[in-house]
Every structure is written in structure tokens, then in C-alpha cells.
């Protein structure tokens, strides 16, 4: 390839012409960029990608990509994505949303999607707040973060997404940072390519309700060790996680969920016979 003859897909090929509603400065812009770069890097045709989301700022992302998308109902992105993938194993399915959609109302589905190990990539843009509804604590918010709905802080322990994903059987567990789009792109390429359920928590600051998250870029750091394929080793590591380790924690080898709708739809026996007494 020379400078004069572009021959492969570029990130911009995945951007739709819909203007994002996100606040300027939102980390999700870089997540969108990273997803686009990752798709380009793998060489996926835009029409062969389905981006499935729930409700929240992050969940607006499908409309901003030039792919097929489904902006579903709050907390139900994972079952929606599961249905798409089982029906259409030929598609690359990206499930996306925020920490509220994914860990609160959607928490139950996270557990079972990890168990099911369906071959999709789940991207959670974690900003430790419910942004869309104007600033309530989310499951990943620190207990002492003050808000109107919970003055003085919610007072309960936060949720540890990597721990939960690992314990529930996700085949790929990683954390990324939106402020490092290239690094995030690499993790996403790895996640999408890895078979089974790939869970990627992307720390993505909320410029409007969590201006304190400007400090994240100073706090994040590369994980000190390479990814492991040993779940118990990953479990030991994640128990000492400071919440800012960036990288792939775990890459397992469980077989992905096998059942799909096939293309050869045929009956090889007369089902009517089963109704004879």
C-alpha cells in the first residue's frame, strides 16, 4: 500500500452520519473511535457487524456506527445480543452499554451471558455514574460519592465487574481506558477475535457529572503482568486489582456456546407421526 492507494477499511468507514448526543469531552467518543479502528483493523464489513445496546448515554453508540444496530430496552442488551448471535452466527455481534445498564438492571443477564459463553464482545463504558439521568450513583460508584439521590454517598460496596465476569465464566476479561484509544483498539481486536464471551470494561470518564475523573489518565497504568489462561491465577490477580490496571486479565479456552440456527432448515422425519396415539 502506498500513500496514494488506500486499500483497506478505515475507522471512518464505520461512522454513520448521525451526530452523537454526548457531551463534548465524553470518553465515549474515544470508545467509538476505538471500536471503529478495531473493526477496520480486523477488516470486518460494516454490514456484517451488529451493535446491540440498552439505555443510557453509552447505549446510544449503535446509531453512531455504520453497522446494523439495535438500541433496545434498559438492561436487556445482552439477551438481545444473544438472540441476534444465535440466529445469525455469521455476524460479529458487539454488545455495548454503560455501568448502570450493564451492572444494575442488567446485572442478572451479565452473569448468565458469561456462563453461556456466547461468542460476542461486551463493551461496558464505565463512568461510575448514571449519566443520562443526571448523576446518580451506579454499581461501580464509590460508597461515599455525594449525590442528590444519596446525600453523603450510597454507602454500599461497589460491584467489581472483572471479578464477576471471571467468576461467571467469561472467556476473555479485560479492562481498557478510553483515554488510550490505540491501546483500547488493541484490546478490542483481541476481544473480538477471541472466541466465546469477551468482556471489556472501558473506563470512560463522564465530563459532566464526574469531572473528578479527569485524574483517571494519571491513575491508569498498564497491568504489570501478561494475560493468563488460568482462571484461578486470574482470580488471585483480580483480588489485588486497584481498579486501574489496564490490559487483558484472562483469556480462557472454554468452547463458546454451540447452538445456532443453521442454514439447512430441514425436517428429516415426519413430525405428524409423533401425534399418533
Amino acid at each position: 500500500m502506498s500513500a496514494q492507494t488506500p486499500c483497506k477499511l478505515k475507522a471512518s468507514d464505520y461512522k454513520s452520519d448521525t451526530k452523537p448526543v454526548w457531551c463534548p469531552g465524553c470518553g465515549d467518543f474515544h470508545v467509538l473511535l476505538s471500536l471503529s479502528k478495531a473493526a477496520a483493523e480486523i477488516g470486518l464489513q460494516p454490514e456484517k457487524i451488529a451493535v446491540i445496546s440498552g439505555i443510557g448515554c453509552s447505549s446510544r453508540i449503535p446509531a453512531y456506527m455504520n453497522c446494523y444496530g439495535f438500541h433496545g430496552i434498559h438492561g436487556r442488551a445482552l439477551p438481545l445480543a444473544t438472540g441476534v448471535k444465535v440466529a445469525r452466527p455469521d455476524l460479529t455481534v458487539i454488545c455495548a452499554g454503560g455501568d448502570g445498564d450493564g451492572f444494575s438492571i442488567g446485572g442478572n443477564h451479565l452473569l448468565h451471558a458469561c456462563r453461556r459463553n456466547i461468542d460476542i464482545t461486551y463493551v461496558v463504558m464505565d463512568n461510575e455514574v448514571y449519566g443520562m439521568t443526571k448523576g446518580q450513583p451506579s454499581p461501580t460508584t464509590a460508597p461515599d460519592w455525594d449525590s442528590k439521590i444519596a446525600p453523603g454517598g450510597i454507602g454500599i460496596s461497589p460491584f467489581y465487574p472483572l471479578v464477576i465476569a471471571l467468576a461467571s465464566g467469561a472467556n476473555f476479561v479485560a479492562r481498557a481506558f478510553s483515554g488510550d484509544p490505540n491501546g483500547t483498539t488493541q484490546i478490542l481486536v483481541d476481544a473480538i477475535r477471541h472466541p466465546g464471551f469477551s468482556f471489556v470494561q472501558i473506563l470512560s470518564p463522564c465530563v459532566t457529572f464526574r469531572p473528578d475523573q479527569r485524574d483517571w489518565k494519571k491513575q491508569v497504568h498498564a497491568a504489570p503482568v501478561k494475560p493468563t489462561s488460568d482462571a484461578s491465577q486470574a482470580a488471585r490477580r483480580v483480588m489485588t486489582d486497584d481498579g486501574f490496571n489496564i490490559g487483558v486479565l484472562y483469556k480462557g479456552s472454554r468452547d463458546p456456546y454451540q447452538q445456532h440456527v443453521g442454514h439447512d432448515i430441514r425436517f428429516d422425519r415426519d413430525i405428524d407421526e409423533e401425534f399418533l396415539p
Binding site: G69, V86, R88, I265, F275
Partner: protein, 581 residues
């Protein structure tokens, strides 16, 4: 069997006993034997609230012509024992013409049974069973009951082979021997004289044995469903369990979900991907699915939800039928969310109505709720073979997509071509948010109105053909009903004197929503009075009819909640008086 209260030709036999006694097995075998003999029939299971060891009842009705509801009373009650028999008091009405067969070794006959005035006959089922190694009282009871019903021994032995066969030769032999002992007791006199034996049935055994739930599964499969999401719930679980292996065989698949919120959304996702999809549930599950149904309405995704109704509200009575989810199904969605609700009106109709629902969902890109109920769903019935019919239309797909393509374009019939994921150029984001014709989220009044109009128009303008209702007769008195109540009403009409029966026009609605004012006006042409009959506490269909249809001035209603079934005699009496008003 002739019966002094009417001229219907059926025999109703109830078997009761404690758990572990094999009452339901015996009942199932009796039904199967009837099928082999060429009789029609149905069996309704009834159970006490124990998971194991609880009392159970097999309620059978057998006849020369199709049987779709239970009779007013039971001709025969065969009690292997009397454990908690009073639980079945309402399920097993008896009168002086009934015959109660009981084992004297199992305790005295309860007072409420004696109080019915039924004739009593002793049968030492336990003692007789004990004479055979591996013998059981329920097999003796089976033989006896079959003999009374006039079913030849050979048919019962064939059923025994079929049911017990997998347990091995010895088990079959032991059961068969007990069956023969039961027959022998009838032949030796006493009880035989109490019930007139049925006339020999034709030996045409070209019948099917199925339940409403299995029939619904068949309808789904025939309709093209190839993805199901499943979360078990009484009394719908059998639909999903029947479908699971058969979907696999058909190249499809069933995914067990973690809850109903997941199952409805999985079905929506699979349908968005292009595969006809369904889930099945009951009242509590339907409530959980309501938000998902709204998403399918807004995003215009085809979807079928089978709701096998049980007594509500809330947890209600899980093992008993009621027609009380009409409101939830028709009105439950927030916003103006037009969608389709259909109701099967017999075990056989579960096939057609479910298949029709798939066709409607795919053709109009809309969710369709199929209302069935526990009575039909879990009844075993001998029916005529159910041939396949061909609903011709299918999903309108967008294939060669140009630059000006719009997913939710306004079309004459309201149905917009749908691009399946993978189709180049058709990329769009399906959304619960209101949207423009180009599938962009929109808060504009014009877009909202345009899409609301479109989504309403597509189901209003559709030609539902003659399937929207079953209409019997052309009399000036119309009975409006739906679901399983239909069969009891039909039988009740059949019991009226001919001149009164001819006055009645039976309209059983299959399409509950959207309303069909023109078709209804036609159906009620020249009708002077209307009676609405349904099995719920508040007359849910009746209120809907009042809201959406022009009715004659004279409208009466007859509604009662579950678990009680409408009895044909009860209905005949009401209709009789109504006709003479």
C-alpha cells in the same frame, strides 16, 4: 352413554387416588385405549398442592364425536383411595345417576360423596392387585373403567404395552394381568348393569393424541418458527419442552433464558436477525414481557408470544385455567402500542391459531400474543388428524437497497421492507425510541404521528380473512365468546330444543385485537340480542366489545372466574332462559 339429562353420547370417568398410585398414568392409558378403539375423548389432570405424593385426579370424557369440554357430571368415579378427595369436590360433580367405585380396604366413603346420592360399588383393587407379582391397584382400576366404558380389552392391553413397555416384559405382564382382572370384575356382574355399555365404535384409529401445548408447538413449527427462547412457567412449560428437540431437528434452536426479561429480548434479537422467533409463558411471565413487547412494536420486529392462561392475579392458581389475561394482553403495553392478540378455541385450534400467529407476525412485523389456557394446554385429547395449511405471506424484506432506502418508510399498507443484518447498504439501528422514516431517533410531532399512524394502519388494514372468528349458525341471538369456553357453549347450544338452538348464532372470536368493526357488523347482521360468555371475574372481553363495537341494545353477560369450568348443562339452562325472554 345415554344420560337422562341430555342426549349426548359420552361417558365421563374420573379416577382419583393419592400420589404414587398412578392415577394419571391409568387415566392416560384409558384415553389412549379409547383412541385405539376409535373413540374421541379428552383427559384433564387435576392435582393437589403436593409436589410428590399428593392426591391426583384424571378426569376423562370419551365419546363418539369430538370431545372438547367436560360434562356437567361424572358418570363414574373410580377412587383407588380417598386421600384429600374433598379437594376435587368441585372438579368431580356427581349425582344420583353416577356410579362410585371404591376399594373398601381404603377407608369409608366420604360424606360429601355419599351425599350426592350416587350408587356405590365395591372393588377390591388393592387385594386384586396383590394377587399379581408386581401388580398395582391402578391397573385393576384401569381394566374395570375400560370395561364399563365399553372399550375392548385388546385396546387397553395395547395401551399398556405402549405405556409400560419401556419398563420391561415383566412390568407389562404384571400390568396386563391386573387389567384383565379388572375386566373380569365387570363381566362377573354388578357394576356392568349400572351403566349401559357404549355402542361399538368404528375402528377407525386414524386419530391423533395431543395436548394444546404440544399442538401449539406444532403450529409454531409449521409456521416457520426456528428460534425459541424459553423460561419455564406452569402451565406453559410443555410448549417449550416439546419444541426444544424438534426445533433442533428442523435446523433451529431453543435457548433457555435466565428469566422472562431475557427470553422476550432474545426472541426479539433473533427475529431482528431474520429468524421467526417465539417464546411461551403464562400470566406472571407475560407481565414481565410487556416492556419487551413494546420494544417489538416500536422497532417493528416480528414476534410470537404464546400465553397459556392460568388463574390470576399475580401468582394466582398456577394449575387451573382462567381467561383473565385478556386485559394484560390487549391493554398491557404503555403508550399507544397496537399489536395483535389471537386466541385458540380448542386443542386442535391451538395448531392453526399459533401457525396463523406466526404468519401475522412475519407479514406485519409486529408482536402477536396467542392466548391459550391451562385447560386446553394441559388436556390430552383425541382429535382428528390436523392437516397442514399454507399461509402464504412472509416477511417483506429489503434486498437490493439503494441510497434513498428508509427502514420505516411510510407505505400504503404500513409495512416497510426490512433489511436483514448482513445486507449491504441497509444498515440501520432498530430502536424503541420514536424515529423518523430513516430510523433516526426523533422527538418531532410529525414523526411520532406518522409512525403511530403507520403502526396502527398496518394491523388495521390487513386482511385477516375468515380466520378472525368462527361463526356457527345465523340466528338472531348471538353468543360472543372466545378461547376454551367456546366448546362448552357449542355443546350447550346442541342440547337446546332445535327451535331454540336455531335462534342462536355462535361467534367465537379468534382475533381479539385489533377490533374488526366491519367484520363484526357483518357477523351480527340482523342480530337482536347478544350474550357474552367468558371465564373471568370482570367480563374483560365484554368491556372491550363495549369499547370498540356497536352492539344491539340487548346485551347480557355471563362471566365467572376460574378455576370452575363452564359446564354445558349450566350454559344450556342459561341460554334456554335467555332465548325465551
Amino acid at each position: 352413554m345415554t344420560n337422562p339429562t341430555g342426549n349426548h353420547d359420552t361417558i365421563s370417568i374420573a379416577l382419583i387416588g393419592k400420589g404414587g398410585g398412578g392415577v394419571l398414568t391409568a387415566g392416560e392409558m384409558l384415553l389412549r385405549a379409547s383412541a385405539y378403539f376409535g373413540r374421541y375423548g379428552m383427559m384433564i389432570p387435576a392435582v393437589g398442592p403436593q409436589i410428590r405424593g399428593g392426591e391426583s385426579a384424571a378426569l376423562l370424557r370419551l365419546g363418539e364425536s369430538p370431545v372438547n369440554c367436560l360434562d356437567d357430571t361424572f358418570d363414574v368415579l373410580l377412587a383407588i383411595d380417598w386421600q384429600h378427595a374433598e379437594r376435587f369436590r368441585a372438579d368431580i360433580p356427581l349425582d344420583a345417576d353416577s356410579l362410585v367405585i371404591f376399594d373398601p380396604a381404603a377407608g369409608s366413603v366420604p360424606d360429601f360423596i355419599v351425599g350426592t346420592g350416587a350408587r356405590m360399588h365395591e372393588l377390591e383393587m388393592k387385594a386384586l392387585g396383590d394377587t399379581v407379582t408386581g401388580g398395582r391397584p391402578n391397573m385393576v382400576a384401569l381394566g374395570f373403567a375400560a370395561a364399563i366404558a365399553g372399550i375392548p380389552e385388546s385396546a387397553v392391553l395395547k395401551a399398556t404395552e405402549k405405556k409400560i413397555g419401556r419398563k420391561g416384559r415383566d412390568a407389562v405382564d404384571a400390568s396386563s394381568e391386573c387389567v384383565r382382572l379388572g375386566y373380569a370384575q365387570v363381566a362377573s356382574g354388578g357394576a356392568a348393569a349400572a351403566i349401559e355399555p357404549a355402542a361399538a365404535a368404528n375402528t377407525n384409529s386414524d386419530r391423533w393424541l395431543t395436548s394444546g401445548n404440544h399442538a401449539a408447538g406444532l403450529g409454531a413449527l409449521r409456521g416457520g418458527i426456528r428460534f425459541a427462547a424459553a423460561y419455564p412457567i406452569t402451565p406453559a412449560t410443555e410448549v417449550l419442552e416439546w419444541l426444544a428437540p424438534r426445533l433442533n431437528d428442523a435446523g433451529g434452536t431453543l435457548v433457555q433464558a435466565e428469566d422472562e426479561l431475557a427470553s422476550i429480548n432474545m426472541a426479539i434479537g433473533a427475529s431482528f436477525g431474520g429468524i421467526p422467533s417465539l417464546t411461551a409463558t403464562s400470566g406472571p411471565g407475560l407481565s414481565l414481557m410487556i416492556e419487551g413487547l413494546g420494544l417489538a412494536v416500536s422497532a417493528e420486529v416480528p414476534l410470537v408470544v404464546i400465553n397459556v392462561m392460568r388463574c390470576g392475579p399475580s401468582t394466582g392458581i398456577p394449575t387451573k385455567p382462567e381467561q383473565s389475561d385478556f386485559n394484560a394482553a390487549v391493554y398491557g403495553l404503555h403508550g399507544d402500542a397496537p399489536h395483535i392478540v389471537v386466541a385458540a378455541n380448542s386443542v386442535t385450534d391451538c395448531v392453526y391459531t399459533t401457525q396463523w400467529a406466526v404468519h401475522l407476525a412475519e407479514a406485519m412485523q409486529v408482536p402477536v400474543i396467542v392466548l391459550s389456557d391451562q385447560f386446553m394446554g394441559q388436556a390430552s385429547a383425541i382429535v382428528d388428524p390436523i392437516p397442514s395449511i399454507n399461509f402464504l405471506s412472509k416477511r417483506k424484506l429489503a434486498e437490493n437497497i439503494g441510497a434513498s432506502f428508509e427502514r420505516y418508510a411510510l407505505t400504503a399498507d404500513g409495512i416497510s421492507p426490512m433489511p436483514l443484518p448482513g445486507t449491504p447498504g441497509g444498515q440501520y439501528t432498530a430502536d424503541g425510541l420514536e424515529h423518523s422514516t430513516a430510523a433516526k431517533p426523533s422527538g418531532l410531532a410529525d414523526d411520532h404521528l406518522a409512525q403511530l399512524d403507520k403502526r396502527a394502519r398496518k394491523i388495521d388494514a390487513f386482511d385477516y380473512g375468515q380466520h378472525w372468528a368462527d361463526i356457527d349458525g345465523d340466528g338472531e341471538f348471538a353468543v360472543l365468546t372466545w378461547g376454551s369456553t367456546t366448546s362448552a357453549v357449542r355443546e350447550a347450544i346442541g342440547r337446546l330444543p332445535v327451535d331454540l338452538a336455531n335462534k342462536i348464532r355462535l361467534v367465537s372470536l379468534r382475533l381479539l385485537s385489533p377490533a374488526r368493526p366491519l367484520q363484526m357488523a357483518d357477523a351480527l347482521n340482523d342480530v337482536e340480542r347478544v350474550m357474552v360468555i367468558e371465564q373471568n371475574h370482570t367480563g374483560q372481553l365484554y368491556r372491550f366489545l363495549r369499547a370498540w363495537y356497536e352492539l344491539p341494545a340487548d346485551v347480557q353477560t355471563m362471566y365467572q372466574p376460574g378455576p370452575s369450568l363452564f359446564r354445558p348443562g349450566q350454559l344450556a339452562s342459561t341460554l334456554h332462559d335467555w332465548c325465551l325472554q
